[in-house]
Symmetry: C2
Subunit: 322 residues, 2 copies
């Protein structure tokens, strides 16, 4: 369990239960699959999405037995997309460990991801109303579309800020929003509060992903758990680079970005270029804007212990270095 939750023993306890539910669900698979997926869980990860389901529930009539399986669904959904993502990105390292596709090959990664998807819906159909299955399906559909869009815009030096924001909304913010929503709604918070929480989740998710993308430019490899410049190497131009390219008046960088594969020397130059032109700083500014929106929305919630926790976690999450 990630140390991120050390200060919140109640949430931590429920996240342990979420891990148990996931492990139980994995036991439907072969010994090999079980091993691979358990390794993946134990490699860490902050489990923000399941924690958001739990936290959402704590705004209403929290029922641990009902919400922990839903939290497990959301995390498994996330893991499934990570596994398939890593195929597309040719990623070798994730959470300081080899990815499934690096260790066992792309083929395994395809089916282990599919297996996880199927377990999600199985667990879901045991624990939720049809209406919410629809919400989850819609989110999965949006996540997939986001991934395809990201893939389609690979190496595209003309990608716009709007396209980028749509992409990260689909890729990250949608599931953050869904997590808080579903936790709240299934705990009888009612549509209005549930939607307010969804909107908070959305803004936290947007800020979170922008920060994640910035860390690919500025982080310490050892702390982030994956090699820097990874996005650029894969032709995924994120916000710092998109802003930087707006300053590339003579088109020098654009031309360089069109010639691939990039040498490690070039990757370093691209990162430096994003820094020098203020691309990283502008990206930070937009992340702060989303963070502020999230805080504004949190502060407009009725006072309750969960409100305080949500504010603290949001702060912790968005000032992170890993």
């Amino acid at each position: 369990m990630d140390k991120f939750w050390n200060d919140y023993p109640e949430i931590q306890r429920d996240l342990e239960e979420v891990i148990n539910i996931m492990k139980k669900s994995f036991s439907n698979g072969s010994k090999f699959i079980q091993g691979v997926l358990r390794d993946m869980i134990h490699a860490g990860g902050k489990m923000i999405r399941p924690a958001f389901v739990i936290l959402g529930g704590r705004f209403g009539q929290y029922d641990r037995k009902k919400l922990c399986p839903l939290a497990a669904v959301v995390e498994m959904l996330h893991l499934a997309t990570l596994i398939h993502d890593d195929i597309i990105d040719n990623a070798l390292i994730r959470r300081s460990k080899p990815t499934i596709q690096a260790e066992h090959g792309k083929n395994y990664a395809v089916f282990i991801g599919d297996f996880l998807f199927s377990q999600c819906f199985l667990l879901l159909s045991d624990n939720i109303a049809v209406k919410d299955i629809k919400k989850v399906s819609k989110s999965v559909s949006r996540i997939c579309k986001g991934e395809i869009e990201q893939f389609e815009s690979q190496y595209d030096v003309n990608v716009t800020v709007t396209q980028y924001l749509r992409r990260i909304a689909a890729k990250t913010a949608v599931l953050f929003a869904l997590s808080l929503y579903i936790g709240a709604y299934e705990s009888n918070c009612g549509e209005s509060l549930s939607r307010a929480l969804a909107s908070i989740g959305y803004n936290v998710g947007m800020a979170f992903q922008i920060i994640d993308d910035i860390l690919d430019f500025t982080g310490e490899e050892r702390v982030v758990g994956k090699p820097l410049g990874n996005d650029i190497r894969q032709g995924i131009f994120t916000l710092p680079m998109i802003y930087a390219l707006q300053e590339d008046e003579r088109g020098e960088m654009s031309r360089m970005l069109c010639e691939r594969p990039y040498s490690e020397e070039q990757v370093k130059r691209f990162i430096e270029f994003a820094r020098q032109t203020g691309g990283i700083e502008r990206a930070r500014k937009l992340a702060r804007k989303y963070t502020q929106k999230a805080f504004d929305k949190i502060s407009s919630l009725k006072e309750c212990p969960s409100k305080q926790v949500l504010a603290e976690i949001t702060e912790k999450l968005l000032y992170r270095v890993y």
Copy 2:
């Protein structure tokens, strides 16, 4: 629309509707995805699974508006697994056309499959009770497990008949069974008749897959729509080969199968070996056994027009050459 249904205009009409529903569902994706998936539909395929949903429904109070979306779900599920299968198999040709992964790369194939899965559950949650979502999820889970088992037993010359049967049950028979079941059950046929139909679907599915595997040894490339010996080339040893290996007393073929990649000359020798040792004939015999079981179960159904149609289709399906 495949000519397979020419004699059944009512089913054909509903299958046209199924195609429309699928196309509508694809429109949630990008233009590119829509194009790829429409091409896949238009490349043909007999649409047996959705036809079984419709046929199952005709044993009860058939409601076209309710069953066509469910039939679309089943076919989309099937297409999604085909797309991901082709990644694993490195398949280049399917239904006489390049596979998605051959034409657009593995990465696209991963996400287009995922997109289809998500659309399945979206469509499903619009049209069905939670109980049946659970049944569908379970089937998807079993299909995934079957695929993983097949992948894990690649190039394994010691694979047994039992393992093979479990594999094709998961890969094919489960979805055939589900299709008839869900069509019947959702049309108020009751549990007993629905289960009888599921069992018929299961046996048809088993026979169907064994025949499909035999066709990889004996078919005409032009008619089957994919190259012969494809399974062997990928190290997937199916029933004719498993039987043949039982006759390989001096272990000559086993040794040859352990050295890869195989030359085209060797692939031809393996096919010839399966023929000479009676492996193909024995496989045919087992297919006939499953076919007979299906017919026995059909004949024990109460007389009705749908019973006749089911018997005819089963016969047509299991004496096919393509």
